[in-house]
């Protein structure tokens, strides 16, 4: 079991999002900010396209030999004094984490930003077991106060504006002066910092995700812009790294290649502000670091993607570029997708993880415009993979009956050219005649979805093939 999903209600979610004025304003920022910055960063680096190739190749190579690299990584972590736990699914991962927390006698746990922790719903589980989890990334902190899922994988609170955050802070930070001024974003930031600082110091366990795990050294790496990840993993006595198995990378050299495309694709930065490496617990003589170092390696559906057409999705380095460039994401935002991962990467990954019967809308809700693939730093063919889902749905008869029967009818005629010409000639003559006065229809019985929002241009009347035949026979006569 993982977090609750509203993916089956994608259409209703989307319609609601389209009418949410505040959300629409916030989404405008996504459209404008990320795209230009990524482009500028890519333009400045002549080898950017070549780096994307090598990023793809590094991940492909790793996935091909994932078992070997997992073993090598595990051995290195152990050698550096850490512990490695394998979890087949979310349930196992949660139990392992709870056990580690209990052994540490934990009352509060600080957390760095981690999508896999959202995927396994760890916060609610810890809470239900009497342990208080505290998100320390500002966006995640806000989301936690609101009991929401992130709406973007690198900017979890991108759907909110400052006044909504102010209301949340006033609602939750009741120990502070009710009359304080929070009208400026920087005041919100300062307040969050002050509140979180106490939490950092009080925490018994720090949980972080990992952007990369290095097999060669047993190192886990996180990139952040706030530095919260460092405090999360350095201050408490116990550091737990949560990572899904596809985060593995062979060497530090490989990581440095991937880092060069990651931040540029995500935010247009050359590097994130903090890139933090951690290898095992604190050694004698180290200035800081945790006493206990645990890595929980989570499968949760990944290994069943290996060797299938969806394996390519496991290259994803979670940069968010695909959603930043997606017209559907721009229109409806992340929550409409109804689970942890939104946008094009979510449209491919979510059906793999929670089942295409639940997430079937997601790979269908795409125009296949291809902009996601054109920016993905590891060149995942996202439209192709969405189409693969549509094929699986079609095979399993999950495609809606209306679509199926429409397609069958079309296919029937398209396979019979003579009949096709005859039928289309008659249909277009009728439609052309009916629409001749205005040149368009504002309502058509079989195209209500179309004519609800736009006119349907009337056909010219005679089909091309009919006129071609007529004119050619005249020419040759």
């Amino acid at each position: 079991m993982t977090v609750h999903t509203t993916s089956p209600q994608f259409k209703q979610n989307a319609t609601r999002a389209l009418h949410d004025v505040q959300l629409q304003k916030a989404l405008n920022n996504v459209k404008q900010g990320f795209i230009d910055k990524r482009q500028a960063a890519a333009d400045k680096l002549p080898e950017f396209e070549a780096l994307r190739d090598s990023a793809r190749d590094i991940k492909n190579h790793t996935l091909e030999h994932l078992d070997l690299y997992l073993e090598a990584y595990e051995a290195k972590v152990k050698a550096s004094g850490g512990h490695v736990h394998f979890a087949r699914n979310a349930d196992e991962a949660r139990e392992i984490i709870l056990k580690i927390c209990r052994e540490a006698g934990a009352k509060t746990v600080t957390k760095g930003k981690s999508m896999i922790s959202e995927e396994i719903g760890i916060n609610h589980y810890l809470e239900a077991n009497g342990i208080t989890p505290v998100e320390t990334d500002l966006g995640e902190y806000i989301i936690q106060l609101r009991n929401e899922l992130p709406s973007h994988i690198i900017a979890p609170a991108v759907h909110l504006n400052a006044s909504q955050v102010e209301q949340d802070f006033r609602r939750v930070h009741t120990h502070l002066d009710a009359k304080r001024d929070l009208s400026e974003p920087v005041q919100l930031l300062t307040e969050a910092r002050a509140v979180l600082r106490e939490r950092f110091l009080a925490a018994d366990v720090g949980i972080t995700g990992a952007n990369f795990l290095v097999a060669e050294t047993g190192t886990s790496i996180i990139v952040t812009n706030e530095g919260n990840g460092d405090l999360t993993q350095i201050l408490p006595k116990t550091h737990v790294v949560l990572a899904s198995i596809e985060k593995l990378v062979p060497t530090l050299e490989d990581v440095s290649q991937l880092l060069r495309v990651l931040a540029r694709s995500a935010t247009g930065q050359e590097m994130s502000v903090y890139t933090t490496f951690s290898t095992g617990p604190r050694r004698p003589g180290d200035a800081d670091g945790p006493e206990n170092y645990h890595v929980v390696l989570i499968d949760n559906g990944r290994s069943s993607m290996l060797g299938t057409s969806f394996e390519e999705m496991l290259r994803c380095i979670r940069c968010g570029a695909c959603m930043n460039h997606c017209p559907v994401y721009h229109a409806v935002g992340g929550h409409a997708y109804g689970w942890v991962y939104p946008g094009p990467m979510g449209a491919v990954l979510t059906p793999s993880l929670i089942g295409v019967d639940k997430a079937g809308h997601l790979p269908n809700a795409s125009t296949f415009c291809g902009r996601c693939e054109s920016v993905c730093p590891v060149r995942i063919p996202l439209p192709k993979l969405m189409r693969h889902w549509r094929e699986r749905e079609f095979e399993r008869h999950l495609t809606p009956a209306s679509v199926r029967s429409g397609l069958n009818l079309w296919g029937f005629f398209a396979k019979r050219p003579a009949l096709y010409r005859f039928a289309t000639r008659a249909a277009m003559a009728t439609l052309g005649f009916a629409g001749r006065r205005r040149g368009r229809f504002s309502w058509l019985p079989l195209a209500k979805g179309w004519t609800k929002h736009r006119d349907f241009p009337a056909p010219q009347g005679e089909t091309f093939q009919a006129r071609w035949q007529r004119e050619r026979s005249r020419r040759t006569a």
């Binding site: 809700a365 397609l407 296919g411 005629f413 736009r454």
Partner: protein, 264 residues
């Protein structure tokens, strides 16, 4: 293939893949393509044809897609080139046909051969035939929308602009986000019509902000979507396929307009 004119050396014999939408909705685009190709020295034939299978392909129906693809491959096998007034339909053949027959080397070879000789109209004129100028006149400011498949699957971007730059009386003004999807997406426009509408709404606003009288593009699906939105919102922009302007064949009313009627 005895009905086809025999090819003279150096005269490419082009099979026009007219595409379903042009065949049914706006045949004048097909005739504009024929004129452009003939002016450029090609022998043009339009063999009896139906659909390339893209609607089935994008709906996950690989079986029907393969059947239709085999038919297309046979229909067009005798031509030197296959040209379509559509980036999306040409892209279907160029990029996706070979993938359809991964397990069938015989058909895969045939599909790859068809893919290699299939082109979108403006890119065929410019990239293959080396056309740099067309003899046409069109008055006013036009803006050009880059349809997604043509742009990202086939690299169609500079070719239509190069040809438009030589049209007398025409000024090309670029809109913001000309390379962003218009929200058509085939059945997407009907299945997810609310989302599609929001996407085409953003496009319509960009078109209007460019202050062009005419919107052009190379794909009729996108054009019908944008024209339908512009007319529903009462934005007075005429919408045409780029081939009509390049071929100097703009007597037919713009898309969504009636004969001798301007926008009300």
């Amino acid at each position: 293939m005895s009905a086809l004119p025999s090819s003279r050396p150096g005269t490419p014999r082009v099979g026009l893949f007219v595409t379903c939408l042009v065949d049914l909705m706006r045949p004048s685009v097909g005739f504009a393509a024929v004129k452009l190709l003939e002016d450029a020295g090609c022998i043009v034939e339009a063999p009896v044809q139906t659909c390339c299978g893209q609607p089935a392909y994008n709906s996950g129906d690989r079986g029907t897609t393969r059947d239709l693809a085999m038919r297309m491959i046979e229909t067009f096998q005798g031509f030197d080139y296959v040209v379509a007034p559509s980036g999306s339909c040409a892209g279907m053949i160029r990029k996706h046909y070979p993938e359809l027959f991964e397990e069938d080397p015989n058909w895969r070879a045939k599909a790859s051969a068809l893919a290699a000789k299939t082109f979108e109209l403006t890119s065929f004129l410019v990239d293959v035939l080396g056309v740099t100028h067309v003899d046409a006149t069109f008055q006013g400011a036009v803006t050009y929308h880059d349809s997604c498949s043509g742009l990202r699957e086939l690299g169609v971007k500079t070719q239509p602009r190069l040809l438009l730059s030589g049209v007398k009386g025409l000024t090309l003004v670029e809109m913001n986000d000309s390379d962003v999807c218009c929200g058509f997406g085939g059945t997407f426009a009907v299945k997810y019509s609310d989302i599609s509408s929001s996407i085409v709404d953003a496009k319509a606003k960009n078109v209007e902000a460019a202050h062009a009288q005419t919107l052009l593009a190379g794909d009729l699906g996108c054009l019908m979507n944008m024209a339908g939105k512009l007319s529903r919102d009462g934005r007075p922009v005429e919408v045409r396929h780029v081939a009509e302007v390049l071929a100097n064949m703009t007597d037919e009313p713009a898309i969504g307009l009636a004969k001798d009627a301007a926008h009300k």
